[in-house]
Symmetry: C2
Subunit: 315 residues, 2 copies
């Protein structure tokens, strides 16, 4: 195996880059802004320029690079076709060919979606390095989900494997999700969803005391902080989030039966006060064959992606 | 590639065997009884004797056989470890080693669970031969589920991938399932579940006319037959089954995003009157990225398993 490998994690705001030795050592990580204008046509050239800059500074040539792994914020099919990335203004494109054209020196190129990459990163160097399969759920503005099963990142026939955010968890719901459907998991269990539920409860139980009422501009983090400090209403809100998410995860376990569920994203900084009700609900609803699946908090934060991207190349 | 391949589909009552040319031609299929006594220790020797008998009759030696694929009625891990098969009285065993010991002449051996094998069979020669990934759900006494995703049968970390029968579809349910939990999919959507729901509705709506009331010993098939003849109550029962199952399948699509859902098992003989409400519910609840996933009825019946077993060997 050649001595170097690159991980490139493309986000809507920043491109995160990592230069690794193929033994897994991270040599340097850095980031550049994502230029999404003009249909995002600068994104890949910018990323490759950043790699070439590092190579020049470190006197490394492509003949010493095992390959480049890339994560993108959108669905990716098994052959490397990106179906489109709204946040990058990208339409459908066959990324391996685009990269080959831009930099013929790259001998091995791998691409998957950003959450799949992060899941692989956590499995390699983070929360679940003792496991070989995982479902990772990221709770942020929306809900992301990456799946590594039977040793491989899952793509799905349309690159939509792991699109759990719009699974309907309440068939009687009447408030529409931004996707146009009702009762989507994301409406309850993302950071945005938690905040929405908190506001509803504060209004509905208007005479009930809660430290949340002291906040000028309530955030999901406020709810998690208040729960950690024992605020009863906030604890109940996280219980209800855990009830729905843990239950939805039993459906994923029924399908791919991972060794571990990893909870990541901004909301996961809440720690145990969030993880406990998710795992409790999961164990209440899970079939006995997979009732003991592990739960872990993500550990690598924003670095998970570059690690996973590099790992894709290493196999 | 050598000229012959065998598929061996082991069930609790019969072992189904198929002798194929490696070009996919089925040369002969037959079955022998499954002897489950004494911890099921005769099952594998009987199956191998049956193969040897065919080989002797057809003057074929192991040196001409590409391999043997096997389906068993229980969870199988990726390495070929069978976690146990209740219907065969088997405990955990590492099947590749057991087979190697019993018949060293077999050069390639593959094993998966019976529904995974049937799914692969339908993808190869049946309902979905134009597809490369599928989730197949069999509705019989219980609910079975096989998954072929990204070109491979899914095992899961405990061999429990596809164990969807005990996914909770009603968190308020109070009637226990035989697994000890409540609101399991199987309690509503298997043949047994449909019959249970039919009896409940006939009792609950005791003054409502239905041709089902004329039956001496009601069966799930009676409900399907009556629905096909336009019995309103029976049609509603299949609507309700479809509502729950179609919705549960959106959770599976959110996870593995298959090209096609195949509905099999005894109940699937009902045909379109069953398939229509399942697909309609699926499209109502599915996220747009996979709302158009195909639905098909299984076509190979009891032969699906031997086809899929042979296909595992052929790759």
């Amino acid at each position: 195996m050649l001595p170097y490998v690159f991980g490139v994690d493309i986000g809507g705001t920043a491109i995160k880059l990592g230069a690794f030795r193929t033994d897994g050592t991270l040599l340097e990580k850095w980031q550049i802004p994502t230029r999404t204008e003009n249909g995002g046509k600068n994104v890949l050239p910018d990323a490759l320029d950043a790699l070439r800059g590092w190579m020049a500074r470190n006197q490394v040539t492509w003949s010493q690079v095992e390959g480049v792994g890339m994560g993108v914020p959108g669905p990716v099919k098994m052959d490397g076709t990106v179906s489109g990335c709204i946040n990058l203004n990208w339409g459908e494109q066959f990324l391996p060919a685009v990269i080959q054209e831009l930099e013929p020196g790259i001998s091995k190129f791998r691409v998957t979606n950003d959450v799949n990459a992060a899941t692989l990163g956590e499995l390699w160097k983070g929360a679940a390095s003792h496991c070989s399969s995982a479902v990772m759920v990221t709770l942020g503005t929306g809900i992301g989900c990456g799946i590594v099963a039977d040793g491989r990142v899952m793509s799905g026939s349309e690159g939509a494997a792991g699109e759990i955010g719009h699974f309907c968890v309440d068939r009687e719901a009447t408030v529409p999700c931004k996707c146009g459907k009702y009762g989507c998991l994301e409406q309850y269990c993302s950071a945005t969803g938690l905040l929405r539920c908190a506001k509803l409860e504060l209004f509905r139980q208007s005479s009930r005391p809660s430290s949340l009422r002291d906040k000028k501009r309530l955030s999901a983090k406020d709810v998690c902080d208040a729960a950690r400090e024992g605020d009863a209403l906030s604890l109940e809100l996280l219980e209800e989030l855990g009830e729905k998410l843990g239950w939805a995860l039993t459906a994923m376990a029924s399908t791919v039966n991972p060794e571990v569920f990893i909870i990541g994203g901004g909301l996961s900084k809440a720690g145990e006060v969030l993880l406990r009700p998710i795992a409790a609900s999961y164990r209440k609803y899970a079939f006995h064959a997979f009732r003991d699946t592990e739960f872990a908090l993500a550990e690598l934060g924003n670095d998970a992606g570059i690690y996973g991207c590099a790992k894709m190349v290493l196999g």
